[in-house]
């Protein structure tokens, strides 16, 4: 195994080849905000919250899908990055319909957490108020597209961990939305095993258990970690 050495915010780090800048930053204890990244499933660089500056590159690069390289110099918290991150979060809020006061995830929401992390006290972008639907056709769960930030964690957890691939993304740009099955109501998708992994993976209040009301959605994130370690390291007890 070959090792790469690099600097993140001036801290020297040695990490195995193939690791991402995000892995390296976590190893060094440097916090980088993330939303679409979920431990245990593949990264796709959807949310752009983890953007960093890499010496020699004029573009900002997403830490979760950028591999470490020998001699890399990474900055994670410059004023420019702070400004872009805050704009990214503001765009997420103004794009959908986030009414935290009446949301199942209020108080346990990763979008709220990053808003606090990046210091967002209001959105400078005009709210779109898009017309989006809610699907409660599944016996146990529901999906509220108003609160979806299109991170695709549900898509990946269902495909990569459960192996059911119930979810996918339809349309383009602002019209994008998450579909179940062949764009059917969730309750009619035979492939769904009702395992609930998407509920635990969803960072917001978009996918929820029926019957939970304001602020009641608390996810069991440890369950996903446990399943991944069980598979990779053959540790079968929690």
């Amino acid at each position: 195994m070959s090792v790469k050495t690099l600097k993140i915010d001036g801290i020297d780090i040695a990490i195995e080849e193939g690791a991402t800048v995000l892995d390296a930053a976590r190893q060094a204890g440097v916090p980088i905000p993330t939303l679409c990244h979920l431990d245990g499933v593949g990264d796709i660089g959807a949310c752009r919250l983890c953007l960093v500056e890499v010496g020699g590159s004029r573009r900002l690069l997403p830490a979760c899908v950028t591999e470490v390289a020998e001699g890399m110099e990474v900055q994670t918290n410059t004023p420019k990055l702070q400004e872009y991150r805050r704009m990214t979060v503001e765009l997420l809020f103004s794009e959908g319909n986030h009414v935290c006061a009446v949301c199942v995830a209020n108080g346990h929401c990763e979008l709220q957490d990053v808003a606090i992390q990046v210091g967002m006290d209001h959105s400078r972008f005009t709210y779109r108020f898009p017309d989006r639907g809610v699907d409660v056709s599944h016996e146990q769960f529901g999906i509220d597209h108003n609160r979806c930030i299109l991170c695709t964690r549900c898509v990946r957890v269902c495909d990569e961990i459960e192996g059911a691939h119930v979810w996918d993304v339809a349309q383009r740009g602002a019209a994008c939305y998450i579909v179940s099955g062949l764009n059917q109501p969730w309750g009619e998708v035979d492939a769904c095993t009702s395992c609930g992994k998407c509920v635990d993976a969803c960072p917001t209040g978009a996918i929820f258990r029926k019957g939970s009301t304001t602020g009641e959605k608390e996810r069991d994130r440890a369950k996903l970690d446990f399943l991944v370690t069980a598979r990779e390291k053959h540790e079968w007890t929690r």
Partner: protein, 182 residues
Amino acid sequence: MDKVRFATVWLAGCSGCHMSFLDMDEWLIELAQHVDVVYSPVGSDLKHYPENVDVCLVEGGIANEDNLELILQVRRQTKILISFGDCAVTANVPAMRNMLGGAEPVLKRAYLELGDVGPQLPHEPGIVPELLDRVLPVHEVVPVDIYMPGCPPPADRIRATLEPLLRGEMPLMEGREMIKFG
């Protein structure tokens, strides 16, 4: 030091932010020693928003013509305008009607389609203010100096925002205690 000329206004919100303000309990007595309450639905009986207000807490978004008229006046006559609570900062629950489109489909839905007895559209010019097409957060209508999210902002957050202002300093709106939505 002169007393701070202090006001609160209530636009399109549920009054919960004002209830949370009252929830500051005995600190209100302390506050009263430093401010003159020149306009407020919970602290003054004056009907007209006065000139030269130092600090104003604005609860609620801008939903109708009365809200619009008052917020323009508040901005003209106030030094420090605080967007007070989620309805002021994001338009929040009142703005859920924006998803239906303009004022007309909203009124039709509420008063005709869902009206059980004698469905009719409200129309009393000069008495019932006309709805604007969209409910807007305060800062989309006038400039705002301080944003205090929360539904409602807890009493401690309100106090932590006002205390520095009484000393002539700006509060630091940062961290979960000060800027969590919802």
